[in-house]
């Protein structure tokens, strides 16, 4: 039976916790991990995007990536990488592992060979968050220097010399303080909306087809995390004050004659009244320190939040009520991610194949000799999207 689990990591408690979000039972823990927000990514086997097999977690105290398989609760690999990574992401086709360093560099590895394909100087400061559009067309990076950049993934993995200057497809400089989180919607790149949040209290929605800002929403505190429900109708932003604010992008208005009608909500000057006087404001109250990470369940009914106050809370997204709260953790919780329960969880004899991974290389091949060799990379199309197309 399918069930959903949450993977939670901490920055100073050395465990990765895996809970079932409906029943609340602690399924297992993986030991030996200290990771910051957005520095954990999960790898799936090829063409099985929903089934997660490996955890790649960048350590916050050393330039190292720890890898676990869901089959065994022991550390599988330790890869040493050139720089301490502050954020990581794996493309949806599970071919590339991309890391953003604390010096603003992007590293691209090929997962199956471990080759380091590309290094780019992308930002002035640490890259806080990276996301890939669901068609693997673009990589979006948000940085401590308050800039969001959109890169075409094709540019990052082409056969050009390794240190060739690549210019971003879009550069968004409207935020004034560091970007803390971003999410991108579902769909092909040109139909995707991106939500970025920043410490400057604003949350901006962007259109990836023309790179324009569609809306700016201001909340009363600095924002640390953001999540969007699967239908892309509501945005949840987690604040530095421990509150989670829910922003409805659409509203349903009843019209007696023609049934109900859905309108795009337009907030005057992007400011929503979240003050205590406003009874309609949707605020999740329960944490008392900064929210670090938010995640929605697959059907959008549950919201999972992680906070500095060492708690993970599962909320009913519609009513803002706490359903469960996990307080096993002894440190700031930095990441929560809701995934389908891996089919081979703690099953060492599982018959399901695992993806091939090789140790990530520290150096670019051939660069040691001072040569810019062409690196052959195979780009295996758009993972989920094209696969569905093929079936059709």
């Amino acid at each position: 039976m399918l069930s959903e689990v949450v993977v939670a990591t901490s920055s100073n408690d050395a465990y990765i916790y895996i809970w079932d979000i409906r029943s609340g039972t602690l399924l297992t823990t993986f030991k030996g991990n200290k990771t910051d927000t957005h520095a954990i990514s999960l790898l799936s086997p090829l063409y099985q995007p929903a089934r997660k097999a490996y955890i790649f977690s960048a350590q916050n105290d050393r330039p190292q990536i720890n890898v676990w398989s869901f089959r065994k609760d022991q550390l599988l690999y330790k890869f040493t990488v050139p720089e301490k990574l502050s954020s990581t992401v794996i493309t949806n086709n599970n071919n590339y592992f991309i890391g953003g360093s604390e010096n603003g560099r992007i590293f691209v590895w090929e997962v199956t060979t471990g080759k380091l394909i590309k290094i780019i100087d992308a930002h002035y400061k640490a890259i806080n968050v990276m996301k890939v559009t669901s068609d693997d067309n673009a990589l979006i990076t948000g940085s401590e220097d308050s800039i969001v950049k959109v890169w075409l993934l094709n540019d990052l993995i082409d056969n050009q010399p390794i240190r060739n200057g690549i210019s971003p497809y879009f550069t968004w400089t409207e935020h004034t303080l560091p970007i803390t989180d971003l999410i991108c919607g579902i769909g092909l790149m040109n139909y995707t909306r991106v939500v970025t949040v920043s410490l400057d209290r604003s949350c901006k929605i962007w259109d990836l087809s023309d790179g324009k800002c569609l809306a700016t929403i201001v909340v009363p505190t600095n924002i640390r995390a953001v999540a969007m429900n699967p239908t892309e109708t509501s945005i949840y932003v987690g604040g530095g004050d421990g509150l989670i604010y829910s922003i409805d992008l659409y509203s349903k208005s009843k019209n007696s004659q023609y049934g109900s009608k859905v309108d795009l909500n337009i907030y005057p000057e992007g400011i929503i009244d979240f003050s205590t006087n406003n009874k309609d404001a949707k605020v999740f109250k329960g944490h008392n320190q900064a929210i670090n990470s938010l995640s929605c369940s697959f059907d959008g009914s549950l919201l999972v939040s992680a906070s500095d106050d060492e708690k993970v809370i599962i909320w009913d997204a519609e009513s803002q009520q706490q359903l469960k709260s996990f307080a096993h953790c002894k440190g700031k919780i930095t990441n929560v991610q809701v995934i389908l329960r891996p089919i081979d969880l703690l099953d060492n004899q599982s018959k399901y194949p695992l993806p091939i991974i090789k140790p990530l290389k520290r150096y670019v091949e051939g660069e040691m000799e001072g040569m810019n060799q062409e690196i052959e990379t195979q780009y295996i199309g758009y993972s989920n999207v094209s696969y569905i197309d093929i079936i059709k």
Binding site: Y124, D145, L177, N222, G240, N288, D308
Partner: protein, 941 residues
Amino acid sequence: MPKTSQRKKKLKNQDFQKQKLKVGKKKLAPSTQTDISFKTKAIYVPDQGIVEEKKEITSSRNLTLKELLGQAKHYSSITRKDALNGIKEIYTNYPDEIFLNLGTVFEKTIPIFIDKEPDVRLALLQFYKILIPDLKIDQIKPFMSVFMAYLCSAMTHILEDIRLDSLKFLKLFIDNFPTLTIYYSDKLIPNFLNHLTGDMKMNSKSNSSSLSNSLLVNPKSKLGSTKSRAAILTSFYDFLSIIINDNQNLSNNNKNEDIKENININWTKQSSIQIYSNTEHVYNKNNDNSVVLDIFNAEQKSNNSTDRIDKDSLGISETNTFLKTQNIKNSYNLNNKSQLKDFMDILLPVLFNCWIETSSDAFIGNVNFSPTLVIIKTIIQIQNLVWKKYSESEKESNEWVESYLKLIINHMMIYFPFGNEKCSIKDQKTEDYVKEINIIFCELLSTFLSLNWNDNSKLITICLNNLMKYFNIFFGKRKNEKFVMINDIKAEHLNTLFPAILKLINSLPQNDSLKIVDIISEYFMKVHSQSGAKRSLIKFINQLLNENNLFYQNPVFFEHIKKVFSSLPRLMWELKTVYLNTTETIFDILLKLFKFGINFQERIQFLENLQMTMIPYFYVEIPNKGSIFGPFIQLPCELQKKLINIIYYFPTINEKLFKAILTCCKNKFLSSETIDKILEVFELRQNLLFTTKIQPQQYLSFILTILMGYNSNELETLNKRYLDKQVIPALKVQEVLSNSKKRKIDDDEINAKNEQIANIWKRQNEINNSVVKRLKSLNGIPQNKILNLLEPFTVKVFNNSLPDHSLYGLVFIIMNFIKYKDTCSKSYVNILCQNITRLLESIWSKDNYMTTPEYKYIFNLTKYIFNNLYLEMINYLSKDIIDINKAKMAYRLLNDIILKLEPNLIRKIQSLKVMIHELKKVLTNQQEIDNLQKILRFLDY
């Protein structure tokens, strides 16, 4: 006896003959009878009286609209004119009458476009000038085709003054209904060119270096005069700019597909017969869907090229009649590159001809403001327009462009900069005009420069040299290495030039762009800070930083513009709060500098200096003059927040700046929202890994000072004035600190004071919340340790006489952490109770304390206190209850608050009962004692 004639006899007899009556015949009428029957016929004498009242609306000459319209076709020109004036009059008085009969009015008046009498046309123009701007677009739409038909007829009329007047009518439509007018561009544009060339002999060779077109050169002709040519060109420019700009608007906004179809200028060049191609519209609809478009365009391109060959071959045998029969399809879609090119091939030679004709005498000798200048300006403007459009679609240069650039250099550039030393300009107006021409020409050149050229193209070097030369003159003259300012540069001049400069800087090699940067920064330093030029320069610099990140990455570039940056803090101080937009732009620039500069080691010193210069913007203390708050306090909240963001990026925080900000925060005019933001940014900074932080001790005292709103010196002053730990009302504190004298207070002032007090408390409450948030997330300190942390500080502060709202603030934050009271010492809890009592006493001691503004805050607080601290409070109060004041206090507490707690909870408290017994002994008022008795009974229940 004379013989009587036969006839006479007969006559005689006749008289006496008796008429016989016959049966069946009427009786004859007697001869004496007079015929009384008669007939009438009416004659019409037109009524000339102006006094007669007509039922319909009439003009002042008592003519109805119907009559007037009839007269519009009168054979006498004077009557026609009067009729039009009459209609105008009716319109001014009774607009509805015209609106109701709009169709007939237009039907009758439009033909007057081609009236032979100038006065009549003038009258019509005057009428239309007031009528047309009032019409809605829907009202005029049905008549537009008629308008345009007559307008075209007028434009091609054999009488030249009719042609000239037609432009005035056209202008009216262009001004009021641009979107409607461009529907008819296919008909109008050929007419324009006819105006210029005078005949149909337009031989548009694709290679236009041979200027074979003949201009209309008829010395007697009015059309050839410079004045009318200027009019034609300006009108043409207006028209063209609408079409092209409209295209741009539409391409940005692809919703209005209906209007989009009109992007085409469909017109046949030689004949006025034109053919619409329906396919064209279909292509246009797909114009934005990139892939499909390319295919279609490719097709069109091939079509067009064959078309062009036709033209050329036909052009050789210049027989108009033959051409007319051919009906060449010739539609120009200006969004299509090749079609635009064709269009330009036709247009540009004509323009060059005009230029050559007029320019020769324009800039020699005395230059006065004359139509010649207008022509020159308009020609450049039109060129500018089409080339800009061209450069949007095509980035590469080619021979075709080069050939035109060559023409520009040969014919136009030789005069550039226009109005230079060779000629003299007398009056200011002309000089301004010439300057404008120069600026537009620069824009034109920069459009060319923005295309990709071979590096060593001669043409380009010529252009660059000329531009540089002009910029040197424009921004100021250099004499003996000294920079002499030109003061009269207007902001709008700069605004038109900036795109040109921006393009130059972006496209030139580094050395050349550095030169320009130098010129600009030199100019920037000289120009007065309050001037519009400075403001637009600031905007420009911001744009420069946005588009070109060389300026913070490349150290060389940075060096060159550094001076400008370092002058910014001073500038924003000088601007005060007058130009908020500019101030905001400066904030943006500073933010960028700090955000991106921090990685460069060599720049740290510069940033520190910049930070130092920013201090006066907040607050500064000058030995002689005392303390001065900078403009920061008066800024709107949004801007304050924006500036505060910069603090996040400071490499280190300067001691002085820190104090200046603190002083600002203590100022009660600074909104609590901004204070919240300041605290937040400082907190975020403290949590950062790599920056130099403020010492934790200092940071804590920063927070607490903001909470208190007074620093230790001020508290000292209060102590001197009020001995023994009094609690002082907020307003009195301000009086004491500002040393103002006491006056008598009347009712109005009391009301005002109530408001003031309410504001102070509200602000304090918001600050409290914000401070609590900050304390909860103090880096590395768990929440249960916070009380311990606060203990030494609070004990010290509690020993002073305190303003009431500060005391409230302190108690408030302690109450937020009172859950952890077990961690602190007994004596501290005691001190706490003592101070809570102090606070409550001071509030409750006022008359009608329930109505004071601070009551609701205190009331909320007391509930909180007694939920967490009731035992301690009761213990403290019952300790020396003998004191009558204290007893009263205890009674009040008991009555107001303790009894509102959970009854089961209070019943368990033994010490409470003991206290009540004690109270009974002390209190004297019988009612109070009875009340206590009741309470006791209730407790024992």
